[in-house]
Symmetry: C2
Subunit: 499 residues, 2 copies
């Protein structure tokens, strides 16, 4: 095989994979946004599983092996995109080829069952029901870590799945800084007086909320001609192809803000996927630099930008137009304070900008112990509650509001949680860098996202998977990642808000 | 390979195919019922094309060849389902293996382009724009017929795609009978007085129409837990899997009947697909006996059952509940006459029960000439108009309402049209047989479809593709197919209606 033949063959594998993933995405969209038949779900799940498996097979096929070996031998003759393709798929190949396929199957089967049980166990707050599944899943995850390989900590092997090169060593430092700074900050915030939010405790018709979300999606720069805004209980973003990046939001009559911030959060993900260099798709490099970088974009729109004093000046008149009675007497400052309420709570997905990463810290510490195999699964509920008390100062009254609240462990997604917190921290560092070149507050107050999106598109979005998160951070901000910007941002923002 | 290995391998190929077709179906549903991004359509079309191609590849793969050869050698040891699988897929293999793959690709590419041009050409009534595409498509279809092979007429090779063993010889006899009997009948009907339909020429809110369609779908026995009722301009039925058979309908404020009969038509297709023996799926035999048999089921529900005097007694009180002002003074007899208006018209998809098959006759005669290569494409519009005048007694004022009205030729679907007419005729023969054992009118007047569906399920639906249309007809009705039941049915019905 010549170098050119290997490149063409790999691109052909990438194209096949893109088709499998595109079809998978449409099936996932259908399952979640449509109302497909209840009884057909098992058949659809098998079809989705087949698509995922076929997509995965391309990554570890003998064809892929031959291509990688050929390109390895011609390393010096490769173009930039060819090199990036080789680097990414060599990594993926090496990591996955060591895993016995029947163990992948075992995990898929186990988590498929566990996810269904979890919904019932959570609703009943019945940890004992879930425990045997957790035991098996955690054991399998430790087994996987062995196949993947790691230098220091078994958890590293899983963390690397979501962020190349991420380790316990790095996260200990990161979370250590958060813990040292944010736990005392939360204590102060908790002691201070909460702002008035009574003007939000009203009923807002879903029709008008939908108008608002559509308008906000366009305002922040999400391209409706290359996507669509759907409705689901749990908002998400999914890419069918480069020109079909779909997002969803949810609407609650009694919670106007939930739709607003869910919409701009998902649009942040969507704008990233819509902003990639068209040339990347053919090389299988059309994706986020890492899970955390993806999350950094959604958090930038949701929090740093749309919960800012500047953006509230853009948001308020829109609320006043749609809901004149409810907002005519509300000041921009009152709205700013109301959208930034911070307080310790029990449920991660309902947590605010300040406390969210502390919920992640609880999970991080437990996942570390799980991967070290140093705790008994039956002790998890008590450990969870202890950590919640220690870090957030609250104790769940039951396991439904405690250790059973997330689907991740049932789905076998250990190592995923840290990317949420890391995403917020990346966001702060990226936005700090942007602030040196773009008048962010000016843009937000004018409701003009074009200069912001141009900067993000040029510096971050267009690169897709051609740079690692580490490389991207260094290139965009001129320094390696540090928790400092995030901590400073939160201390300044909440220090001022809660005096 | 042992016999058992060949069976297992073929079942594995069938399972893969089912996944590809299931994913294709969901993508098709998404494209037609959702509002996916305009700019993403090209990418989605490529993904759908990939799925279709992969599904097709399984039918002509070396694996399939080996399985077929092994099973051919063990013909006497096969179970009933194994034999049926061998028969069907040997036929498909033999037929398709002769076609050079690049000619399949050429046809797909050509029709993909032609379909887009057709929409514009039709809207503009511009036949000259379409002519070069028709020329190329027809030439390719004649070429395909050569690859497929045929005994008497090149058209036979294409007809066989939609109904195994269907030939020009058989259709000439069928359409000859229709022509001889129905053209004079239509003349009489046209001379008679039309019933009063003024009570239908009102506005009916779409919300209430949707309630009606949902209720009718359930009433006729379509299982909502194993499907769903969507909305599209052109109603259709599509199966994702055995437990996910989806149908659509359309709603026009000024045309209440359109939704009613579209809904029950598609539900007829849906009930067939929902009623197949669960064991068939694993053998790739989970489908209609033929296109015409499928159409016979939809036509049975739409016409023979739901346009009957008996069913109108079930329908009318429902209309009176939903639209009391419009229907309080309407009698069952007036409604029966209004839903059975027959008159010559220009557009096939708007044609009534009596004239529909005459529209098909026009197309059948032209397709025969096209496949014989005995006409010039540029003469098609004039020939079309002549045939319309000769058969239906009307002449299209332009090509948009004439030769350009259907998408089939642009899509390369020559040989498809006859199955519509044949379906209606099959329906009459099946229903006649049912009438000997089931009190159809009694059931319809009571709105109780259970005995009807039990009979259809047992005699027709559960068999799927294990019997050919010919075998099924003989087994269900005790005699070979004849046009007589259809002609008699129409003569009796419309003779009485138009005195």
């Amino acid at each position: 095989m010549t170098k050119n033949e290997a490149v063409q063959k790999m691109k052909a594998l990438m194209e096949e994979r893109a088709h499998f993933m595109g079809a998978y995405a449409v099936m996932s969209w259908d399952e979640r946004t449509g109302s497909p038949s209840r009884k057909g779900v098992e058949g659809r799940a098998k079809t989705s599983g087949f698509l995922a498996q076929e997509s995965f097979k391309r990554l570890v096929s003998p064809d892929m092996k031959a291509c990688l070996e050929c390109l390895d031998a011609h390393r010096d003759e490769l173009s930039g995109l060819e090199s990036a393709m080789l680097r990414e798929y060599r990594r993926v190949y090496n990591k996955n080829i060591a895993v016995p396929p029947e163990r992948v199957g075992a995990l898929t089967e186990l988590t498929g069952e566990a996810e269904a049980v979890w919904m019932e166990a959570r609703d009943a707050g019945d940890f004992a029901r879930m425990a045997p599944y957790f035991e098996k899943i955690f054991a399998l995850q430790r087994e996987m870590a062995g196949y993947y390989g790691y230098a220091e900590h078994p958890y590293d092997a899983l963390l690397d799945d979501y962020e190349e090169g991420l380790t316990v060593r790095k996260l200990d430092e990161f979370f250590g800084a958060l813990r040292a700074e944010l736990v005392p900050l939360l204590k102060k915030v908790s002691a201070a007086q909460q702002p008035d939010t009574s003007f939000l405790e009203k009923s807002f018709t879903v029709d008008r909320q939908a108008l608002l979300s559509q308008a906000l999606a366009r305002l922040v720069g999400y391209d409706m001609d290359r996507g669509q805004l759907g409705t689901t209980q749990h908002p998400f973003t999914i890419s069918v192809n480069r020109h079909d990046v779909r997002v969803t939001t949810h609407y609650y009559e009694r919670d106007l803000l939930s739709a607003v911030f869910s919409t701009v959060h998902e649009c942040g993900h969507g704008i990233y996927d819509q902003g990639m260099d068209p040339a990347l798709e053919a090389y299988g490099l059309n994706g986020g630099a890492s899970m955390s970088v993806h999350e950094s974009q959604s958090r930038s729109y949701e929090n740093v930008m749309c919960r800012s004093r500047a953006f509230v000046r853009t948001l308020l008149p829109r609320l006043q137009t749609l809901f004149p009675r409810e907002f005519s007497d509300v000041s921009a400052e009152a709205l700013y304070r109301a959208v930034n309420v911070a307080k310790a709570s029990l449920i991660r997905v309902e947590a605010d900008e300040l406390t969210y990463c502390l919920h992640i810290l609880v999970r991080y510490e437990l996942e570390k112990l799980i991967m070290e195999d140093s705790i008994n699964v039956r002790d998890l509920p008590a450990l969870w509650n202890e950590k919640m008390q220690e870090i957030l100062g609250v104790t769940p009254p039951d396991d439904a509001q405690g250790v059973l609240q997330d689907t991740h462990w049932s789905s076998g997604l250990l190592g995923y949680f840290p990317s949420y917190a890391l995403g917020s921290a990346y966001s702060a560092q990226f936005m700090h860098a942007m602030g040196k070149e773009v008048d962010i507050a000016g843009c937000l107050a004018m409701g003009d996202f074009a200069p912001i999106n141009a900067w993000l598109g040029e510096r971050i979005h267009r690169h897709g998977m051609t740079l690692t998160a580490e490389e991207l951070m260094l290139r965009v901000t001129g320094e390696p990642f540090t928790a400092r910007y995030f901590v400073d941002y939160l201390k300044e923002k909440y220090g001022e808000l809660y005096a």
